[in-house]
Symmetry: C2
Amino acid sequence: MADGVRLAIVGATGAVGQEMLKVLAERDFNIKELICLADPREAGTKVKYKGEEFTVKGASPDAFREADLALFAVGTDISKKLAPEAVKRNCVVIDNSYAFRLEEDVPLVVPEVNAGDIEKHHGIIANPNCSTIIMVVAINPIHVAAGLTRVVVSTYQAVSGAGKAGIDELKDHSGSYLKGQKMNPEVFQHPIAFNLIPHIDVFMEDGYTREEMKMVWETRKIMHCPELAIAATTVRVPVFRSHSESINLETTKELSVAEVKQILSQAPGVVLQDDPQNNQYPMPLYTSDTDEVYVGRIRKDISTDKGLVLWVAADQIRKGAATNAVQIAKIVVDKNLY
Amino acid sequence: MADGVRLAIVGATGAVGQEMLKVLAERDFNIKELICLADPREAGTKVKYKGEEFTVKGASPDAFREADLALFAVGTDISKKLAPEAVKRNCVVIDNSYAFRLEEDVPLVVPEVNAGDIEKHHGIIANPNCSTIIMVVAINPIHVAAGLTRVVVSTYQAVSGAGKAGIDELKDHSGSYLKGQKMNPEVFQHPIAFNLIPHIDVFMEDGYTREEMKMVWETRKIMHCPELAIAATTVRVPVFRSHSESINLETTKELSVAEVKQILSQAPGVVLQDDPQNNQYPMPLYTSDTDEVYVGRIRKDISTDKGLVLWVAADQIRKGAATNAVQIAKIVVDKNLY
């Protein structure tokens, strides 16, 4: 372990892959060899890690022969194809896609909530959906203290959830709109500048989007609450980075607002930002480029007994993806689970 | 009545006053004499109605001697001062401010919900809060059919809720941000471009904002449900016009999604826009400049029995303010209640 691991980044040129490199460098991750992989068409591209240039290689099954651990930041199809090949070659995979998240023998992990599940892995550990990660970091401490019975969440999701192309589209469309020009959506279903789109991922038969159901299915699995009642509405908003969430909770045991603040002020990965009289509450413009989940606007849900309302924001590329994966990787390495 | 009314617009130069003039013209309101009033400092300004120029006069108690009916689109303080003066001079007031909304002898009216209350007026009829109007148009038909027991709402509110200054600030800040320049908030508490601010109106002691509590208090009054359980989270979003709302409802009687769609397709003032497979759902960019409340994303709330989830959008300057006031005025005139 003193030697460090041979670490592969799959999708090293993408938004999440780039952020992973940044987080690994910031945390001075103990890397013996860094292997940057991406779509073979991108082979030869240079990426930077700690100021040094690395040449991207095409991701192929045999590329994993030289890696102990691989962080996958690619689409579900590529993960489905390549992750099992990596595992066959004794490389542990931490996968950011949806491919394996709900498979029974794949731990789905947010270290602040269920780090222990990492030990049960069989080669693949899944990194959850970004909105889900952000929510569980905020609500799990309340669950531990008072037993959650129901969660109602409405999200306000940044365009960078759709990668660099989403960021560019918001930038371009905003400029066009301000100049009175037409907006031609390519990444999103409709123009996103100065608009809201209540549609992320595909629609399921029951009228929910898959993004909404990911928040249900994945939260239950991460929190070990297979029956927890959850309803989500996920909405794309014209914000570049950081997702926000309006959350109404119901608990078994009644908690006062002071108790919730006390619990969250000590919760791992949480920054309590709740001073409304001084205009302090989480806002996506200020939570971007950080690793924590910001929680504020904590109050009693006056529409029910034992209810609470929270407002949460966090950088979904960092804590919602890259940082969470790197945190998992650190545990895998520290506990020698590869 | 064939002669038309002598109609005063108080705040004729503001965003809502201007929209009132537009809606009155579109509906060919039967006006014998139009009296445009505003802050005395604005006296002499010209405003247009049906292509004709009108000179704005300073709003003073005696200005109401010549009016049968006055639409107030000014702040709470001015309404408090001037509306009783108008009433003393036999002028019926439809007031858009918060000043009288919760007073027992003042009807608070959304015509699609409680038009009958107009008849009980004693000179002043109050126009509700914009987010509240939009919500009750969408949920009252469900209440009538199935009895609401609880409402949880998270809003996505456009900057024009803060008037023309709010629109200008979003425009300016968006341009500044895209050019990498600093944003200096004046209208809002924080920069609004590419950001979200979970803070509208002032904070109350229990952690709710007054905007959130208006949605509770006013909905109960309009719908004649003094005990209805409601919790709101109100959030400012970088959208120019039209408020959107994510609403979770609980009902006494269970309704199927098909039943809800059937009910809303026939509900007054509602446009059912719910065809997710064809990417059709309400969006603020497309509901602006219309008078209806758009409802879509209708589905069962899977986190509770007898629960429903809706996504609603509507132009808060029109249906949320000007149009609703003009609708009330029409009933006052048609029923000779002045």
